[in-house]
C-alpha cells in the first residue's frame, strides 16, 4: 500500500495567510513525534548492529563490525569460512520471490474479472478480500496447518481418494519422497518448501488483488472494445492491450509483496524445514529467542533492510526505464 500525496491543491490566496505560525510549530511537533516513532527505531537497529554484545541478552553502544563479519564470512573467519547466514538470506529471497510471483500471477486474472463486475459485486468481494487480508498470519498458518496435516488434511484426502495407492502402483511415489513431499507410507507436506511457498502466496494474495485493483479498474473498456472491433480475439486483447497497460503495476506489486514476504516469520517456523529457515527466523532467535545476541540480530535486520532497499531501488530504476522506453 502506498501513501498518495496530494500536490498543492489550494490556490494561492487569502485563505493561507492567517495562522501560519502556530501551524508551523504544530507541524514541527508532528515531525518530531513521527520521527521518534517511525525513524528512531531504525536508527536503533543501525546503532546496535555495530554495538557491543554483553552476555545475557544485553548490548552496549560501540563500534565494531564483528556482527557483519559473522554474517558475511562466519564467526571463525579467517580460519574457516561459513555461509550459513548468507544461505538463510538466500532462503528468505527464494521463498519471498516465489511466493510473491505466484500471488501476483493468480491475483492478476482474478482482479481483471473483479473489475468487470458491477459496483455492488466488487464491493462484496472487496469486503471478503479485506477481511482475509487483515487476518493475522497466525490464523492463516493455523488453517493451512490443518489443511496440510497428516491426520485430517490433504494427505488424508489423497489417501482416501486412492491417489496415494495409485502413485505407489505406478511406482511414482518414490519421486515424491525424493523431493520431500512424502514419508515412507503417505504424502507429507509438513515440513516442505511447497507448504511454505503455498502459505506465503495465500498470505499476500489479497494484498496483490488490492494493489492491482486501481490500475485494472481504470482500464478503459473502450480500449479493449476497439481492439475487438479490429479483429483481436480475447487472448490477443489480453496480450496486446491489457498486459502492456498494467505492466508497471504488476511489476511494482510483485516487488512490494516480495519485500513484505522477506519478513515472514510464523509461516516459516511452522512450515519450513529447520535447514531452510530464513533470516527472519534467525533475527528472532538472536533478539528474543534461543541464541540471544541483540547486536547480531540488529546486524541481520540491517542486512534484511538493505536487501529490501536494494530491490526497491532497483525496481524503481527498472520501472522508470520501462516507463521511458
Amino acid at each position: 500500500m502506498s501513501v498518495s500525496t496530494a500536490e498543492g491543491m489550494a490556490p494561492d490566496g487569502v485563505k493561507e495567510t492567517e495562522g501560519r505560525e502556530p501551524a508551523l510549530a504544530f507541524k514541527i511537533a508532528l515531525v518530531i513525534l513521527l520521527g521518534i516513532l517511525c525513524l528512531v527505531p531504525f536508527l536503533f537497529v543501525l546503532a546496535i548492529s555495530v554495538g557491543h554484545k554483553i552476555e545475557g541478552a544485553g548490548w552496549a553502544f560501540g563500534f565494531e563490525l564483528t556482527h557483519y563479519k559473522r554474517f558475511l564470512l562466519g564467526a571463525t573467519w579467517p580460519e574457516t569460512f561459513q555461509i550459513l547466514y548468507l544461505q538463510k538470506l538466500g532462503y528468505s529471497l527464494m521463498f519471498a520471490a516465489i511466493g510473491a510471483v505466484i500471488a501476483v500471477a493468480l491475483a492478476f486474472p482474478f482482479t481483471y474479472f473483479l473489475t468487470r463486475l458491477t459496483r455492488r459485486g466488487q464491493t462484496v468481494w472487496l469486503v471478503l478480500l479485506l477481511s482475509s487480508l487483515s487476518l493475522s498470519e497466525v490464523f492463516i498458518v493455523m488453517g493451512w496447518d490443518i489443511l496440510l496435516s497428516a491426520r485430517s488434511g490433504l494427505p488424508a484426502l489423497l489417501d482416501w481418494v486412492g491417489f496415494t495407492d495409485l502413485m505407489k502402483d505406478w511406482g511414482w511415489f518414490q519421486w515424491f519422497r525424493d523431493i520431500g513431499l512424502a514419508s515412507p507410507r503417505a504424502f507429507k507436506f509438513k515440513t516442505s518448501g511447497l507448504a511454505t511457498v503455498l502459505c506465503m502466496s495465500y498470505l499476500v494474495w489479497p494484498y496483490a488483488v488490492i494493489l492491482l485493483y486501481p490500475a485494472l479498474s481504470r482500464l478503459e473498456p473502450s480500449l479493449m472494445e476497439a481492439a475487438r472491433t479490429m479483429g483481436a480475439r480475447p487472448s490477443v486483447v489480453m496480450r496486446t492491450v491489457v498486459l502492456p497497460s498494467v505492466k508497471l503495476p504488476l511489476f511494482g506489486s510483485t516487488l512490494l509483496l516480495f519485500v513484505f514476504l522477506l519478513g515472514t516469520y510464523v509461516t516459516v517456523t511452522v512450515f519450513a524445514d529447520p535447514s531452510q529457515h530464513t533470516l527472519a527466523v534467525s533475527i528472532y532467535d538472536s533478539v528474543r529467542g534461543s541464541t540471544l545476541n541483540a547486536p547480531f540480530g540488529a546486524a541481520q535486520s540491517v542486512i534484511l533492510l538493505i536487501t529490501a532497499a536494494v530491490f526497491l531501488f532497483a525496481g524503481q530504476k527498472l520501472s522508470n526505464a520501462g516507463d521511458r522506453a
Binding site: 490556490p11 494561492d12 490566496g13 487569502v14 485563505k15
Partner: protein, 369 residues
C-alpha cells in the same frame, strides 16, 4: 450609490500574466457581463472581485472604500459557481441559510429566510430536499438563492448557465435577468456566450488575453465593435484585409467607403468588417459585364464586389449564402421575411457592402491572425 471600481488590476500566476491593465466601473444595481473566450482572464477577474484571489497590482474600490486587502469572508459578495458548489452534506434550506448559520442567526429565522428565498427562485417547498435529489436547473436556483441569502452588496456569477442544457439555459437567462432587476443588486456575470451576455447585461465587458477589449451596452458592442476581435466575437462578421487610401479603403482592386469609420492615414493597413445580415446580394448588376471589368477602380461604383454563389443554407429562420469573391470568401445572411432572388450554385451575382454598415479597424500583426 456604491459602484464597484477596479483600478489598473493585474494578476500574475508565476510568469503567466492572466489579467493586465484592467480599469472598470461596475455601476450600482446594474448587470455587467464579463465576456470572452476561455482563458481570457474573466474568471480570474471575477475571483479577484470576490476576494478569492489577491491582485498582483491595482486596487478594488467599493464606493469610496478600498477593499483590495479585505478577505473574501469579509467582503461577502454572493457568488454562484460554475459547478454551483452546493454542499452535499446539507439540505437545500441549510445550504441557503449557510451564511446565516455561521453568523449565529437562530434556527427559526434561518428557516424563514431560506423559505423566502426559495419562493423568490420559485422553489417553494424544496427546503428539506437533499442536493443529490435536484435537477441541474433546480440546483442553479438553489445556488442563486444561497448567494442572495446574505444580502450581498455585489452578486457574482461564474458561467452560471454552463451546467444546463441549451433549452433551459435560454429560459434561465431571462429569469435571472428579471430576478436581478427585481432585487436591484450590482451583478457581474462571467460568460463565454455572447447571446447570454446580450440577453442579460446592461453593460458588456469584452475581454481577450487578459485585457479589456471594449466596454459598452450590448447594442454598442454589436453595432459599433471597437476592433476586429470584438466584431468577430460578438455575432458573426466577414473580414477583408485592405489599406486606407485618401478617405476610402482599398481591398484588392475594389474601393470602399465607410463614412462612420475614423480617419486613417493613407497607406495604413486596415481590416474591413461587415455583418452577414448587412451585406446585400443583387443578381442584376453592371459589375457582371465585361465592360465593368475594364473600368479603372476609381471610376467604378463603390462598395460593390462581383461574387459567385458556392453554397446556400436554408435553416428556416434565415438563409445563409456563401459566396466567393476575388478578395476572399464571405457569408451573407437573409432573414426568412426578406426577399431574395432564387439563387443557384455557381451563379454570378454582385455583393454590396453598405457604407454605413462597414466597420474599419487598424490591422496590426495580432489582428491579422
Amino acid at each position: 450609490m456604491a459602484d464597484l471600481v477596479l483600478k489598473s488590476i493585474r494578476k500574475d500566476f508565476g510568469s503567466f500574466r492572466a489579467v493586465d491593465k484592467v480599469d472598470l466601473t461596475f455601476p450600482h444595481g446594474k448587470l455587467t457581463a464579463l465576456l470572452g473566450p476561455s482563458g481570457c482572464g474573466k474568471t480570474t477577474l471575477l475571483r479577484m472581485i470576490a476576494g478569492l484571489e489577491a491582485p498582483s497590482w491595482g486596487q478594488i474600490l467599493l464606493g469610496d472604500e478600498d477593499i483590495t486587502d479585505r478577505p473574501a469572508y469579509e467582503r461577502k459578495f454572493g457568488m454562484v459557481f460554475q459547478s454551483f458548489a452546493l454542499f452535499p452534506h446539507l439540505t437545500v434550506a441549510e445550504n441557503i441559510a449557510y451564511s446565516l448559520a455561521i453568523e449565529g442567526v437562530d434556527k427559526r429565522k434561518r428557516r424563514a429566510r431560506a423559505d423566502e428565498l426559495l419562493d423568490l427562485v420559485q422553489m417553494g417547498g424544496y427546503g428539506d430536499r437533499r442536493i443529490g435529489e435536484l435537477s441541474g436547473g433546480q440546483r442553479q436556483r438553489v445556488a442563486i438563492a444561497r448567494a442572495l441569502a446574505q444580502e450581498p452588496s455585489v452578486f457574482l456569477l461564474d458561467e452560471p448557465m454552463s451546467a444546463l442544457d441549451a433549452k433551459l439555459r435560454e429560459d434561465m437567462q431571462v429569469e435571472l435577468r428579471l430576478l436581478q432587476q427585481r432585487v436591484g443588486i450590482t451583478t457581474i456575470v462571467v460568460t463565454h456566450d455572447q447571446r447570454e451576455a446580450m440577453t442579460m447585461a446592461d453593460q458588456i465587458v469584452v475581454m481577450s488575453k487578459g485585457y479589456t477589449e471594449q466596454v459598452g451596452t450590448p447594442k454598442e458592442i454589436y453595432s459599433k465593435p471597437g476592433n476586429s476581435f470584438v466584431a468577430s466575437f460578438i455575432g458573426k462578421a466577414n473580414f477583408l484585409s485592405g489599406e486606407a487610401t485618401d478617405g476610402k479603403y482599398r481591398v484588392g482592386e475594389y474601393l470602399f467607403e465607410a463614412p462612420k469609420a475614423r480617419g486613417f492615414t493613407a497607406g495604413s493597413p486596415v481590416t474591413l468588417a461587415v455583418r452577414p445580415e448587412n451585406a446585400v446580394i443583387n443578381d442584376t448588376c453592371a459589375c457582371l459585364g465585361e465592360e465593368w471589368a475594364k473600368t479603372p477602380p476609381e471610376e467604378r461604383a463603390k462598395n460593390v464586389l462581383p461574387a459567385e454563389v458556392t453554397f446556400v443554407r436554408d435553416v428556416g429562420s434565415t438563409r445563409d449564402i456563401y459566396v466567393k469573391t476575388p478578395v476572399g470568401d464571405l457569408i451573407v445572411e437573409y432573414g426568412a421575411g426578406e426577399s431574395l432572388p432564387t439563387l443557384t450554385i455557381g451563379e454570378k451575382v454582385s455583393l454590396r457592402l453598405p457604407p454605413d454598415e462597414l466597420h474599419v479597424f487598424p490591422r496590426d500583426a495580432e489582428a491579422a491572425e
